[in-house]
Symmetry: C2
Subunit: 768 residues, 2 copies
């Protein structure tokens, strides 16, 4: 399966080949069982490494274990709780920071646009609208330029960050995604991209930020800032780090949506490791800490009521409630469920279309934008910003409808409780380009922060004409689709919700006005539309359901939201994958699915394993160790005795390297656990090793560092069992051992990806 394509360098597991080849010949493809069409797909790249969730209980670790007792265990546990609390609080503060500055910048911008001499309302009378537009453009382009510059510094900071976190929690090491520099670029970048009026959300980046906080904080050191380094030698393993990243990501969700339970489930859904009771409880605590830290400070800063916890998450849907006077009003009835199912189907179709378009665009970008100088990316961002601003401005001017400011458009639903003050909502109705006592419905949607526009769609009665909603939906859909993927930090949740809410509101309007179903509650339909579209785009299941339920703070919406999301997901899955999975796939990350398909059980471990192994003997010369490490990309080798068979144990190469360097320089008999963990997570590169410091003919005993009892499978184990074991235990490599204890092959993440299994299944059918 390994091959080279274009100028990308593909690595097979045991050797690296780089070169220029245009494409495989049709014959080659037939041999591989692939068709030309599938060749378009990007295959998982082999140079990604797995994280290791399994503990390597080797001799140094055993020494640590010997000194461990339950008391120390409890102390360690207590430290974990404190760290988790700190992660939650810090993530909450990051959220607060982002929210505060986005709010500040947006207010600044709209303030100037609305009240300066060049304000839209004045200019529409004075005829200086072109200058107003230029003023707005000036703001937006500057902000987007800054966001784009930050992404140039750290390219991993682009996009929503959820695909990256998905990969990390799935067990793939993606370089740079949990570094402090990434955090800074992401946080400042998202400030500017949101304030710059792009159709992007801040929720995805906040989840990413939470994950970085989770990864970095417990290390008490930073690779980006080498000076920050305390003597805190805990949690130096992939296992601990992944736990904290789970907690951090959950805290990010919790802060973004005010949804601590949804956050916990998000971590579980993406992390998908075994259900670890203690960890889940900590993750929930971390999420709660984040939510209520944010809550505490926002209540204090915005309302001056320090000590109360009135404000929910950054994204809040307000309270859906029938007015007390209308006894016959129901938020939804059994009959509405039928409409919700249809809306789910449409949402799924729209989402699939969105994903399909975005995928083509992303591929186009990979071919045409990424190879060019980095400046081109900045220019693309600026172009998007320019078009977006012009569209927003022109659409409001030309396409908006002036509607009567009736009492019905006031807060008629009793919908806004304490948390969303009525001024907020009233002030978000825009009268641009409209005579007195009327307002511009298109401008109300476009010239507001996206969150306010969502609230308008959810809670204002009779405000928007169907034509406006349809036009808004189309314009927003296309621009959001174009935007996701440019080089700025950009979330996808809020744009999808807004787009979907417009669609849902449109459905409600049509049903009310043209079909004559007067009883329906428009807000519910807008919410369901939002859920349907978002579900169709991201295809998340349980966590999205819970996040939306928590955001509405209304358990009775559980059933309609769940049914809509289910239908939207199933409809969308019929056509393509979720947007995050598409972007993960485009990067060639070998993500493991939830489970294998039924047919895969026709394969066994021996069909998919890598049979050509590089062995290491228990006593090996430094010379040969170094040459093995330099010529292979993976970092785990079976340690076998001379007659090859009676030992089937493992060691990790990367640890070995740093160890041996120290071993030589310190002339110690053996390394301690602390010394081994010291360089985590960046061990020195083997290629940087100065061999002159070592005696290359010296013989090293590798047995202390190997894992004497790894999980193993027999060659005729079925693929579903292998997959379950590998995924559930979070393994990095799984040796295949025959009936007499000889190691006959090895299975890594790459042998379990969907693409690899499928190619093997085709081979299997051909040999039948």
């Amino acid at each position: 399966m390994a091959g080279c394509r274009g100028s990308v360098c593909y690595c097979c597991r045991w050797c690296c080949c780089c070169g220029e080849r245009e494409s495989r010949t049709p014959e080659e493809l037939t041999i591989l069982g692939e068709t030309q069409e599938e060749e378009d797909e990007i295959l998982p790249r082999k140079d990604y490494e797995s994280l290791d969730y399994d503990r390597c209980i080797n001799d140094p670790y055993l020494e640590v274990l010997e000194t461990m007792d339950n008391k120390k265990g409890r102390r360690y546990e207590a430290v974990k709780w404190m760290v988790v609390f700190a992660i939650g609080v810090c993530t909450g503060l990051v959220g607060l920071f982002v929210d505060f500055f986005v709010r500040l910048f947006t207010q600044l911008k709209f303030g100037v646009v609305q009240s300066s001499p060049l304000a839209v309302e004045e200019c529409s009378q004075k005829g200086c609208l072109a200058l107003s537009l230029l003023e707005l453009l000036g703001f937006n382009l500057t902000f987007v330029f800054l966001a784009s510059l930050l992404v140039l510094i750290e390219p991993v900071a682009a996009g929503s960050g959820i695909p990256e976190i998905k990969c990390y929690l799935n067990g793939v090491k993606v370089p740079g995604i949990v570094r402090l520099r990434t955090l800074l670029c992401k946080v400042f970048g998202v400030l500017f991209s949101v304030a710059g009026g792009l159709f992007v959300g801040k929720e995805g980046p906040m989840i990413h930020s939470g994950a970085v906080v989770g990864a970095g904080l417990p290390q008490f050191q930073s690779i980006s800032l080498r000076k920050i380094q305390f003597n805190f030698p805990y949690f130096r393993s992939d296992r601990d780090k992944r736990d904290f990243v789970s907690a951090g990501a959950a805290a990010g969700v919790a802060a973004a949506f005010g949804a601590p339970i949804g956050g916990t489930l998000f971590s579980l859904e993406e992390g998908s490791s075994f259900w670890n009771q203690g960890l889940t409880w900590k993750v929930l605590f971390c999420s709660m800490s984040a939510t209520f830290t944010l809550n505490f400070f926002r209540s204090g800063i915005q309302f001056g009521s320090w000590g109360s916890f009135q404000l929910p998450g950054l994204l809040n849907f307000g309270e859906f409630k029938c007015s007390d006077s209308d006894k016959k009003c129901h938020l939804w009835t059994a009959m509405d469920l039928g409409f919700f199912v249809v809306m789910g189907v449409i949402g799924g179709l729209l989402g699939a279309t969105f994903n399909c378009l975005n995928k083509r665009l992303a591929k186009y970008r990979m071919r045409n934008v990424h190879p060019k100088p980095k400046l081109v990316r900045v220019l693309e961002s600026l172009l998007v910003s320019l078009v977006t601003t012009v569209v927003v401005f022109v659409a409001s001017m030309v396409l908006g409808e002036c509607r009567q400011m009736s009492s019905a458009s006031q807060i008629s639903n009793g919908s806004f409780q304490l948390q969303i003050t009525s001024e907020d909502v009233n002030s978000s109705i825009k009268t641009f380009f409209c005579p007195n006592d009327t307002y511009n419905d298109m401008a109300t949607l476009f010239f507001n922060p996206q969150e306010s526009a969502i609230l308008q769609l959810f809670h204002q009665d009779g405000t928007f004409s169907p034509v406006t909603l349809a036009l808004f939906f189309v314009l927003y859909f296309l621009l959001a689709c174009w935007t996701y993927g440019i080089s700025v930090p950009s979330g996808l949740f809020v744009p999808s919700l807004l787009c979907g809410a417009a669609f849902g509101r449109l459905v409600a309007n049509v049903l009310k006005s043209y079909i004559g179903l007067g009883h329906i509650y428009s807000g519910t339909f807008a919410l369901i539309g939002a859920a349907a579209f978002l579900g169709g785009v991201v295809r998340m299941t349980i966590s999205l359901t819970v996040i939306l339920i928590e955001s509405t703070n209304e358990i009775t919406y559980g059933l309609p939201i769940m049914i809509t999301l289910m239908v939207a997901k199933w409809t969308g899955d019929f056509f393509n994958k979720g947007i995050y999975d598409i972007h993960v796939g485009l990067r060639g990350v070998p993500l493991l699915e939830w489970e294998t398909e039924v047919e895969m059980d026709k394969l066994r471990a021996s069909d998919i394993m890598e049979p050509n192994l590089t062995y290491v003997y228990p006593h090996t010369r430094i010379q040969s160790l170094v040459s093995i490490l330099r010529t292979t990309v993976h970092h785990a080798f079976p340690v076998v005795t001379e007659n090859r068979g009676n030992e089937k144990e493992f060691m990790k190469g990367n640890q070995l390297i740093s160890n041996n360097i120290k071993f030589k320089s310190a002339s110690q008999p053996r390394l301690s656990y602390a010394e081994m963990a010291e360089d985590y997570p960046r061990y020195p590169d083997i290629h940087d090793l100065d061999l002159t410091l070592l005696n290359p003919r010296m013989i090293v005993d590798v047995t202390p560092y190997m894992n004497p009892s790894p999980f193993t499978v027999s060659p005729n184990t079925h693929v579903s069992q292998v997959f379950n074991l590998f995924r559930t235990m979070g393994l990095r490599h799984l040796p295949v051992v025959n009936a007499v204890g000889e190691i006959v092959g090895i299975i890594t993440r790459h042998n379990l990806t969907y693409e690899f299994l499928h190619s093997r299944l085709r081979q299997h059918y051909q040999t039948l």
Copy 2:
């Protein structure tokens, strides 16, 4: 570790011994490393079998697999979704049934007590109170007698059922707990025990009922009613059954509390298998179905508004809300968190006391009540009912305080929305024994359904005097403690909540009146008190948090509830286990913990495995197979080749038996998967086997039925890794295989229980 105590029959793994022995001698105990004190503890019994979550991919299953393709897989998946939906709906209907009749019986009873010629209010003037008491006693004793009789029919129906479901989801087969007869006895029993005025809840039994529905429905047959049998050969394995039981239990929680997310987490917390994305999604759907089925019918029946979904779960806490006029009112502030922590500590202490008392009582019952004729159990139930009724009556008469019916005690908080009509609440204020315009606060707590009393404590302002609350708490605490464990179906959630709410309300009263903290919101304190006490008793973590948040329908209570539950759990765990774990322990069920303690990693697989194995050869005479099966209680044997070593495979005995019987009678060359699964879950007993039907000297080939590739571990694997593998994969037996592929021992659930590991650790320390 195997031994015989009292008249209980203990089975070691390889042989069974029954007999009368009083106790072990101190010498024996010292040898076993036990102290006299620990002898009091009930050790896990060895006769419980594990469920098998791992698939046994043997030849018949392979045949099924060969015919499988992705299309069939999808159809199978679709059937699963439909079944899960059906489970949800049925569980909802069961909940509806229980709720409807409990309501009916209670109304009947209180109606008579309040309005008959012997009504309390009239008699307190006429002086016929003794007759009123007798009337009440007549009702209560009859109901409790009926409940008790039903438990005599099916003893497993006693208690809350949560311990049994815990065991099942943990992977232990407890006979009879998921049978139709159990369901019927439980459902009707709980009707009568709740209506009979006992201090028991209906929530636990509802969870049990949901689990039975989940286990039974997909089988389309019943052991209790043999005539109900359709030709529906799906889902005939422990693996599928356990999935459906998870879904059913979650649906039970969802129906009982209106908490679909909490229900899902309950299943996960107790099931603790690996996080299976597809399953979790189905479980949530099942929970939603149950919640909204119940919701739909209750809205229709009670409010006549068919098609709306206004009513949440059976247990609902009403809406906590500050009145609109009081701008300074906050449900809770940062300062209150300190009080909540203290309340958590007290709740933990009270819960630990409750558990300790109840454990002693349960042990007393095991020694003195259970060996006696069954009638004694009925008498005990009647005695409890008698005492409860008299206490309720006398306390209301003597200890209640007559308080002014002020406007403040009316619905001042704006607390009761649609779902709890104001008549409900007003009518639940009782004026017994009190002059006009006053009411009796003790009677208001005692002479109401427990749910109404909880609502009173949560939402009525200034209604209860501190003395009344304190007395109520003490009486209720003692009676509830005595009640849990008698032979009636009896939940523990509602009594704990009510008890805790009284405690919380007491704290609020004291703080308000004596400390002068006027700003606090009493309802929040009552809620936190309820959470603290419940948490101290049951020690559940994440699922309880979510259930309570969903019951309040108020996400802002997340932090205080979580902190309180955490503190209560930690405090309680300092003294003893949760009540469910205590009762599981008393039954000697070998439950597996969440994870092993840190110190356990000093042990390895070879230290804990069972080294004496019974082997089977690939070709064995029927005679020897039968004798092996008759003399061993476990049902899995390594199949080894003659030179003992090169094969390490397994077969399951119980399947083997039924197979062989058929094998002989049908003279088929080999059995199909459908034939093997036909008798699931009750295979014929080996002792019932009529050997004359078989040719005992005939040789059977067992290889088609064995599992050719089980998970294995090496002898020097550490205990935590063994434990993780076993628990996560839901195994029944884990062979230990040495470096040359020979099987050297076997690990089952019994080798991984807390008690067994501890005894081995003591041995380990002694040999050091």
